[in-house]
């Protein structure tokens, strides 16, 4: 019997568009820029094509999940720190922004940057003792953080206790709100993509690959982990600060487990380690969950089925699959 085998080859245009040579023709240039343009324009156009206020609000929420997914992917695939503490970041950023807004009367555009940086610093400080942990242990400890903080706020009746902080200012209007979060997602997406390709990003990847060798190279792994956790926490806290201003309320529901779990699901669907994948994953997952709302409690069943289908049939993730199809062609050859 004749035996055949599938062969994968890089497209000529991929090879040609590596490096400076890409600038020599429009075809190569568009090969590089088109996917990025489609992504950027697609996200920018989204608020216009949404039918009503409800779906416009969904976009803002999707973007916040996208930020969280980005932060998860960055930590998990470039540092080897699997963090289940998305809700923790959202909560810290949200509370800081809400407190600044209600007690000092600062505008959202002042509170959000402050909450991002101060929140990131607070999260890094609180997570600092867990940085030597790896793998499952880091995941479990970070999962505990939002739960613990929630109980502390409840029990000590801090920051309005179970009622939360009411009367937080909203964004001037829904357009500003949506384009602000969209801009933030794009900024952090391309920012982290650039970061992981610098020498500092290389050190991050080295910490994941082999932390003993990094120690032997005269570098403190805790220091580099702390830098990365600061960046990732910044993204999460930014999301939290935005959410508080979108819902005009800050409360213990900011520590909901959704903020920890959905980003991970988005990363699995989108393709880990690509950074774009998790963002796309959030843009697929969260709307699906909204669409399924009319099924009531059955929603979870459909949702899990969709997730399972993705994991079984496309376990590598959409983005990894898409990149492969874009860069390579396949053909059958005789053996």
């Amino acid at each position: 019997m004749e035996q055949r085998r599938k062969e994968r080859l890089d497209r000529g245009v991929k090879v040609r568009s590596d490096g400076l040579y890409a600038l020599m023709s429009w075809r190569e240039l568009s090969y590089l820029t088109l996917p990025r343009l489609v992504l950027i324009l697609g996200i920018i156009v989204l608020p216009f094509v949404m039918p009503n206020m409800y779906w416009q609000r969904v976009i803002s929420i999707v973007c916040i999940y996208a930020l969280l997914a980005l932060s998860f992917d960055f930590l998990a695939h470039f540092l080897g720190l699997v963090s289940l503490g998305g809700a923790f970041l959202i909560g810290v950023g949200g509370y800081i922004s809400a407190i600044l807004n209600t007690t000092f009367g600062l505008s959202p555009f002042v509170t959000i940057p402050i909450a991002t940086i101060v929140g990131a610093a607070v999260c890094t400080l609180l997570l600092f003792p867990c940085l030597p942990l790896r793998g499952v242990y880091f995941a479990i400890v970070t999962l505990m953080y939002p739960l613990a903080l929630k109980r502390v706020i409840e029990a000590l009746d801090l920051f309005g206790g179970t009622n939360g902080i009411l009367g937080v200012d909203s964004f001037p209007n829904s357009w500003v709100e949506q384009y602000f979060v969209i801009a933030m997602v794009l900024l952090f997406l391309f920012g982290t993509r650039r970061l992981v390709n610098t020498d500092l990003g290389l050190v991050f990847r080295a910490v994941k690959d082999n932390d003993q060798a990094v120690k032997a190279s005269g570098m403190s792994i805790t220091y580099y982990k702390a830098i990365a956790v600061f960046i990732a926490s910044g993204m999460g806290c930014l999301g939290g600060a935005c959410i508080v201003h979108i819902f005009m309320w800050s409360g213990i529901s900011l520590f909901a487990l959704d903020f920890s779990i959905i980003p991970i699901a988005a990363t699995v669907i989108g393709g880990g380690g690509t950074l774009v994948g998790p963002v796309l994953g959030a843009f697929i997952l969260v709307p699906i969950s909204e669409l399924l709302r009319e099924f009531g409690t059955l929603r979870i069943v459909f949702y899990s089925l969709a997730l399972m289908a993705f994991i079984v049939f496309r376990s590598e993730g959409i983005m990894v699959y898409g990149e492969r199809k874009y860069h390579q062609f396949e053909r059958w050859v005789k053996v």
């Binding site: 500092l200 990847r205 690959d209 082999n210 003993q212 120690k215 032997a216 190279s217 570098m219």
Partner: protein, 263 residues
């Protein structure tokens, strides 16, 4: 600081893993420019000595001095930053990165920024270029594709060199080599020996753990024999070879000459 002060002093270092005494009051000095070989049967504590000196494990008691400064109990990255570097017996490259990118990481360290890499005069250029330069000097052919290959695809011989290259990127003063010859073919070892001799000519102090005695005795000017976590004897290669205790402990009842020819 006097001229003849040892660059590395190990004093009464003891390490116990639970009830097992892996190192029992080991003391030795390494002088600047020396190549010290550490030999001993399997499980005699050779790697544990290196781990204790470089801070990868905490010693139970004892002191290690580098240029008269107490480095015992310091974290490994601080010790590496001072110039006491090590290779690992089981190679630890960054498998997902190309070989030359493996060197960008040590070149990113504070020490490399101060010293500028192996040959650097304090100023570090483009890290990729410096990395490829170091790889070339250590035996990766520049014009071939080897420096650009992902570390996971490289054979053992290149990975062992990559281990050394990582140390060299820090412009070290002491290199502790944990079995750089093990797992290599005869011809690969033959090409590694001049490399060690070159390090010595560069003024780098080398401590080598080795099982390949013939090659070790060619490069080492002092040899330390360990057995069951204790120092058996220290001396020149000739003294060690002639010693009866060494013959008993290390070579068993066999004739030394015979072992040497089969090594």
């Amino acid at each position: 600081m006097s001229e003849d002060q040892p660059i590395l002093q190990v004093k009464e270092v003891t390490k116990a893993f639970g009830g097992i005494l892996a190192l029992n009051r080991i003391s030795f000095d390494v002088h600047e420019g020396d190549v010290l070989g550490i030999i001993g049967p399997n499980g005699s504590g050779k790697t544990t000595v290196v781990n204790c000196i470089t801070g990868f494990i905490k010693m139970s008691s004892g002191k290690v001095y580098f240029r008269g400064k107490d480095i015992s109990g310091k974290p490994p990255h601080k010790i590496a930053d001072m110039g006491v570097t090590r290779t690992f017996q089981i190679m630890r490259p960054y498998y997902s990165l190309p070989a030359y990118k493996n060197l960008v990481i040590p070149l990113f360290s504070p020490r490399a920024k101060r010293t500028g890499g192996w040959r650097g005069g304090g100023k570090l250029g483009d890290r990729n270029t410096v990395g490829i330069d170091i790889l070339e000097e250590i035996g990766f052919e520049r014009d071939s594709y080897v420096p650009y290959k992902t570390a996971s695809t490289l054979p053992t011989g290149y990975l062992k060199r990559l281990e050394l290259a990582r140390c060299l990127a820090l412009k070290p003063e002491v290199i502790l080599c944990d079995e750089v010859f093990s797992g290599l073919s005869m011809s690969e070892i033959a090409s590694m020996v001049p490399l060690i001799e070159r390090l010595q000519m560069d003024g780098i102090t080398v401590v080598m753990i080795e099982h390949r005695l013939r090659e070790l005795f060619r490069v080492a000017n002092r040899v330390l024999v360990m057995n069951f976590g204790e120092k058996l004897i220290e001396g020149t290669p000739d003294e060690v070879m002639a010693n009866e205790k060494v013959k008993e402990a290390y070579f068993g009842s066999e004739d030394v000459e015979e072992v040497m020819t089969h090594a």
